[in-house]
Symmetry: C2
Subunit: 343 residues, 2 copies
């Protein structure tokens, strides 16, 4: 029986996670869920972000389902570094998986892209690059201040995520992998990524490959998002590109993500890309689709592909039936999705 740790978090986090659990319970009866109180609220109450004891407990689960953490009242970096990134790094979640589909029924912002035409997945590296936390400053608050941030990239880290991208592409219809970097400026890291990509590509002659600079990819995601299948890229580029991909496919309200440790040595973590949205929290109007799609990624990762497919089908039906501009009720959407997934 799957043991899931649930971090509902702040703002709309608990509201959308409740729907994701409803759907999980429906398609996988008997799943054991344990709630963990982490996020802005706990930090305000106790000053704690992620006690070691909790980290150890989380490690004992098969997966983590996260809603959203954060609040404007918490200084930048506290929860990001102390909780989200801490989990990604501690649990070696080196595949940050972010699929984007323009679902039928969803009106994207692009005039000449039709629903069904975009179906891409970004495999974002999750444990290296500028997220390593290697930086510092000198002479702070003086005219002589200097601040650095260092991007750390290893062959080990780059190769494993590129291999994952090729493996995913091999299981998809179009079998294409695009490497995105900035090799013309970041020549050291860029060269490592490009050489590693070429070496792995040589082992996969059946998979089409291309390379794009990050600025060009940002542009093409707007002008021709249809061209992408699997995109593999570094941590920061992936952060930016996946928000563009989400924007062109209907917004982060629909975007799911998984922070995955593919070998299962540690639990993987699944969360909607959206934040805690304090402005609409407590009103019961947050769209739970991103959280539910994240639960589908969780099911997939735990080997329940059929259940995952049923959840995706329920989401497809939900989105296709939405009247443009109609207000949605979080609970009702969750009920409909759970019912459809087992119908």
């Amino acid at each position: 029986m799957a043991r899931i740790a649930v971090v509902a978090g702040d703002g709309i986090g608990p509201e959308v996670v409740a729907q994701a659990r409803k759907v999980l319970d429906a398609v996988l009866p008997g799943v054991q869920a344990t709630e963990y109180d982490l996020g802005a609220a706990r930090w305000h109450r106790t000053g704690e972000v992620l006690p070691d004891s909790v980290l150890t407990e989380l490690a004992g689960h098969d997966a983590i389902l996260l809603g959203a953490v954060g609040d404007p009242t918490v200084p930048p970096g506290v929860l990001e570094r102390g909780l989200l990134l801490k989990l990604r790094f501690a649990f070696d979640q080196y595949v940050n998986l972010r699929p984007s589909r323009l679902w039928p029924g969803v009106a994207g912002p692009l005039g000449n892209v039709k629903p069904g035409e975009v179906d891409l997945v970004v495999v974002r590296e999750g444990t290296e690059g500028l997220y390593a936390g290697a930086g510092g400053s000198l002479h702070r608050d003086t005219p002589a201040e200097v601040a650095t941030e260092e991007s750390l990239n290893t062959r080990h880290g780059v190769e494993r995520v590129i291999r994952d991208a090729f493996a995913r592409a091999g299981r998809r219809e179009r079998r294409k992998v695009t490497l995105v970097h900035k090799t013309n400026v970041l020549t050291h890291a860029g060269s490592l990524w490009a050489r590693t990509f070429d070496a792995v590509a040589a082992e996969h002659p059946d998979i089409e490959t291309e390379y794009q600079h990050v600025d060009a990819a940002a542009m093409f995601l707007v002008t021709q998002p249809q061209r992408y299948d699997v995109v593999v890229t570094d941590n920061l580029f992936g952060d930016i590109l996946t928000d563009i991909a989400a924007a062109v496919t209907g917004g982060i309200g629909l975007a799911a993500s998984g922070c995955i440790n593919p070998q299962g040595a540690y639990p993987s973590m699944f969360e909607p890309v959206h934040g805690s949205a304090p402005d609409i929290a407590g009103q019961g109007i947050a769209d739970p689709v991103a959280a539910v799609l994240s639960a589908a990624l969780l099911l997939e990762q735990l080997g329940h592909s059929e259940s995952a497919a049923r959840v995706n089908a329920a989401v497809a039906a939900e989105l296709a039936s939405r009247a443009p501009g109609a207000t949605l009720r979080t609970e009702e959407v969750g009920d409909r999705l759970a019912a459809h997934a087992v119908a």
Copy 2:
């Protein structure tokens, strides 16, 4: 009399620069232009990228007009680091100015954004950050390889570009500056940028300010580009965001840029954002609008605001009159723009 160095460069560079010069000659008779042969062609012929003697000669000009350099046959980094970035750094061009307008007559990719609604300018830092060239690698081509890239940020460098952004906002109608960074992850550099921004903002109570993380800004440039007036950001974020801004306003075929040393201690450099486009070079079908708009930025920088306005008006008329899908001839567009600018 203005002394301009012209680097036409490779591919479509010479074709579009010829039109920009036509327009410059029309609105500013007697401008002295000297051509410099730099780029992929010269590198292939002589192995030289930017000889010191040429750098010294360039320094003696009032401004540089650049077409495009590069070619797939040149290894990544050679011309970028050796020529483009070399000039930006050597001439301390710390303001990398990239305006984006959705011109009437231009069909952008966004369904619900109307021409005239987008008019923003990105003030991208041009001499620091990850472009500093501070990086290296160890154990290259072994499983132990590690590669680093370091982002270097100084109070000096950050403050001057933020001041420039506020000064520009003060001359615009909406008077708003958005700082874009990633303070929640890049906490050291992010804090320097945020504290400096707040300090400069305090001196400008008449200017509206906001902060956004780079991933959110990338998304909002797609979903609500209308919300931006002046955006100030670091070198790499600016590289990515300006390609998104170009994409949502009709593509890099229309995007101009200036690498500016505001004090005029060194020449500023003006260039279209697009590259050398070898695929369409030599056919006379490249759109020279981006090069001509770059010439308008050059005029503005040299104090010829009225001439710059006339060039912009000519571009507006040209774009408004284009029939959708019609093929354009580079020369003809240049002729029309030059004629209109002096009419």
